[in-house]
Amino acid sequence: MKQLDTNQALLAFALLSAFMLLVLILLYAYLAYRKATYNKRQLSVYEMVRDLEQPDSALETYLATGEASRRLSVRGPYRMEALQEALQHRLSISNTPEERRLIYEFAERYFTDHYRQALRNRRWSTRMNTLLWIEQFRIHSLHPELIRWMKARRCSAEEHFQILRILSKLNSDQIVPFLSEKDHNLSDSQLLQILLPLNEELIDQLLAQFDTLPRRVRYNLMDALRIHNVRSTEVLALLERQLSHYDGEIRIRALKTIANFGYMSREATRQLVDVLEDEHDHPERMTSSWPERLMRAKVMGNVHEDVFVSYLLEMLGDSSYRVRQQAAESLSNYKNGLELLAKVVAGEHADRYAREMAEETLERKQYERNLA
């Protein structure tokens, strides 16, 4: 009996081993095959892209004349991949709007059907890749499909956000209502990614309803204005209005954007001086956080007003290192700033930290001047 058990066990184990060996060999065969075909594909795509980039290629002719010859067909193995890559590369180096327009037009004409189908693919990575291409080539005609898929329950979070990015690049009319509704739990970076590509018209629409926008959309909208260097009187007025907002974060972002603006109205200057004066007289009431004081110091360095100098000197002795650093940097932007710092070093400041910071800043400025 015992002998039989052992034999049965042996047989079972042997079968299992054989099975595993088979799986292992199949796995290796699959991997080797995959690698070989992948390499082959890479090579032919690479060769085709190289041909497409020749000065007399069909693609160059199209980009020069706007006439697509039959040689630019997307049919044939890897043709589509090669064209996509060539166009993408072209987009990344192209700087004429006309050329971009031609590329978008070409993609719209020849790739749309393929993309439409790929968006229905069951594989997540296929859909995701397609969305990335759609973003690159700004395919307008897929707008309805994108909206539909975005609202579908099966749409993953990554796809949802990717579609938002596309809509923003297409300047879709869906973006403003979407953003004004709620902030959708998107991260700051994600909100900014949606806000930055928007055109002037959409930004103006958002600015018109600024006060009713969700809080975090407001923060990031101000950052977007700063990154884009938007300089209009309307924007400045809006930013200055935020300076008396109860929310500290709103004030900080507004200050940061104003610092980038480099200009401030009379009225706002007076208001800022009032606040600084108030904190000077009643240090016990001082409620501003160090990032806010840092941004104030930055504003005062970029908006040159003589009235700011005494506050900057005072800030050299701030309890926060970074505020002191910024105050010294801001002072050095003034015409007689370096002399003022030299005086601080010479002992005209009661605070030791202030003297040290002034010395350090002078040293660096000296070095920078020597380099120049």
Binding site: S17, L27, S125, W133, R322, R324, E360
Partner: protein, 493 residues
């Protein structure tokens, strides 16, 4: 010896066999589960177009980052390390090199090369309430305003990192080994989970995969895609397989459920406020990186926070693996001691329901599978040998079981190679693949027993309790000069 004695020995022998059998079955199941979790995730993401993906990661939106580079006797490569760091794709960052009382000219090299001057004013401390070795001076580069050097007395890597935490100013910091070669987009890739975290999510730490640079061509601190080659040294190839398995199966599987206890020591990003809250790095342990992550998990659980520690499967950095058995052995015994210390110092969490799944799943996993694995394996081998000797075990059964384990191990290894191929395609040649396959088959015969022995030795050395200093140096030919005793904590799975 009389009959009862023999009977007793027989019973003990039987009990041990049964325990080992159960252990083997359970561990095999654990690996299968990890395998399928990883397979599920990676299969979904397979072939996502990476070149496009990178364009999406706009660097200007990334939060400012402090990069801490602890250095000990690195005069030969510290300058190019810093140079390649200064060239990374990232908007706002500072580099804090901490010279841990090097006996060579590490500090002077930097001071001369980057025009560094001493900072006179009081530096803003991050407020890590922990005693560190005294600082001799802090220097700032006049060429690059974002480069800082802290010169301090020798106190070990953890102490150097603590000083770095104190001096750095941004909310996130990256800890970096001086000898790690980073992918150009490493920081962006690893910061992505932090950038994508919604307002009610919090990421405490992130880390990425570590690759092995041996055999590839590293050009002044940069390893390009086309230069990746699989080494021809058997020891290195085995380590490549081991790393693939550890990172692509173990860590993805564990990270999926926020169970990960390791963020690679070679390169990880941490949220400073959390690290300060838990008291920074522990200076009395070898595996300070793992110990910190365990403590962070502990704090997260104690605060009942939903904060997460995330692992990014993308390969983000390269390190040089030991090519000599002697050094590899030293590395592995160290790692194993480090693993023990991390678990021992936080033993309160072990099987404690208060610490949720970390206490109930992660800690036991690392204790029974990773730490005690070698003990069980050795006992298993000895039991089988005794059994064969006493003729209580059928030799045919033994052989076929051994064959089964061999195939099983090879399957897992090849699974990891498959994942690599799906997602990253680092090794470009079919011949590399074939070699990985053949080496995976051979693992059971030499590499695995060797590891088991060395890790067991690590356990024995715990009794010795040597104080942790810097790892011994060994110069390799891959990156000018290299420290090889550090690097990824690649606890195999």
């Amino acid at each position: 010896m009389n009959a009862t004695w023999l009977e007793l020995i027989g019973t003990i022998f039987e009990v041990i066999s049964i325990i080992i059998a159960i252990y083997v079955v359970v561990v095999s199941l654990v690996y299968i589960v990890l395998f399928f979790v990883a397979a599920h995730k990676l299969n979904r993401e397979k072939d996502v177009n990476e070149s496009q993906y990178e364009q999406v990661l706009q660097e200007e939106l990334a939060p400012p980052l402090s990069i801490i580079v602890p250095a000990y006797n690195e005069e030969l490569n510290i300058v190019w390390s810093v140079r390649s760091l200064l060239g990374i794709n990232y908007k706002q960052f500072e580099i804090v090199v901490v010279n841990d009382g090097s006996k060579d000219a590490t500090a002077q090299q930097l001071i001369d090369e980057f025009d560094m001057v001493e900072v006179k004013s009081r530096v803003r401390w991050s407020g890590l309430g922990k005693e560190t070795k005294p600082i001799r001076g802090i220097y700032r580069s006049l060429q690059h305003t974002n480069l800082v050097l802290v010169d301090k007395e020798n106190g070990g890597k953890a102490d150097a990192l603590n000083v770095g935490i104190n001096v750095c100013q941004y909310p996130y910091f990256a800890s970096l080994d001086g000898d790690t070669v980073l992918d150009q987009d490493a920081f962006i890739k690893v910061m992505k989970p932090i950038m994508d975290a919604g307002p009610d999510e919090e990421i405490v730490a992130t880390g990425g995969s570590v690759g092995i640079a041996n055999g590839s061509y590293v050009d002044s601190g940069y390893l390009s895609r086309d230069s990746v080659r699989l080494s021809h040294k058997p020891l290195v190839v085995m380590q490549v397989i081991e790393y693939l398995r550890a990172f692509l199966m173990g860590r993805i599987g564990l990270s999926r459920y926020n169970l990960l206890l390791i963020v690679s020591g070679a390169f990880g990003i941490f949220k400073k406020s959390w690290v300060i809250e838990v008291g920074g790095y522990d200076v009395n342990t070898i595996g300070e990186d793992m110990e910190l992550v365990v403590r962070l998990h502990r704090r997260i659980q104690e605060k009942k926070s939903k904060a997460q520690i995330v692992y990014v499967p993308d390969p983000v950095c390269w390190t040089e693996a030991p090519e000599q058995a002697k050094i590899l052995r030293r590395q592995r015994t160290r790692w194993h001691r480090g693993l023990f210390e991390s678990l021992w110092k936080n033993r309160k969490m072990m099987l404690n329901p208060r610490y949720g799944k970390i206490g109930m799943i992660s800690m036991p996993y690392f204790l029974f599978v990773e730490l005690l694995g070698p003990v069980v394996e050795l006992t298993g081998i000895i039991t089988v040998l005794i059994g064969l000797f006493l003729d209580t075990i059928d030799i045919r059964i033994t052989l076929i079981l051994a064959l089964l384990m061999l195939l099983y191990g090879s399957l897992l290894s090849m699974g990891a190679v498959l994942f690599e191929e799906w997602c990253f395609k680092r090794y470009n040649r079919v011949s590399d693949l074939t070699r990985l396959f053949l080496y995976a088959l051979s693992e059971t015969f030499w590499y695995r027993p060797m590891m088991t022995l060395w890790r067991f030795e690590g356990l024995l050395r715990i009794a010795a309790r040597k104080k942790h200093a810097w790892g011994d140096m060994a110069r390799g030919g891959v990156m000018n000069s290299k420290k090889t005793d550090n690097g990824a904590n690649g606890g195999g799975s």
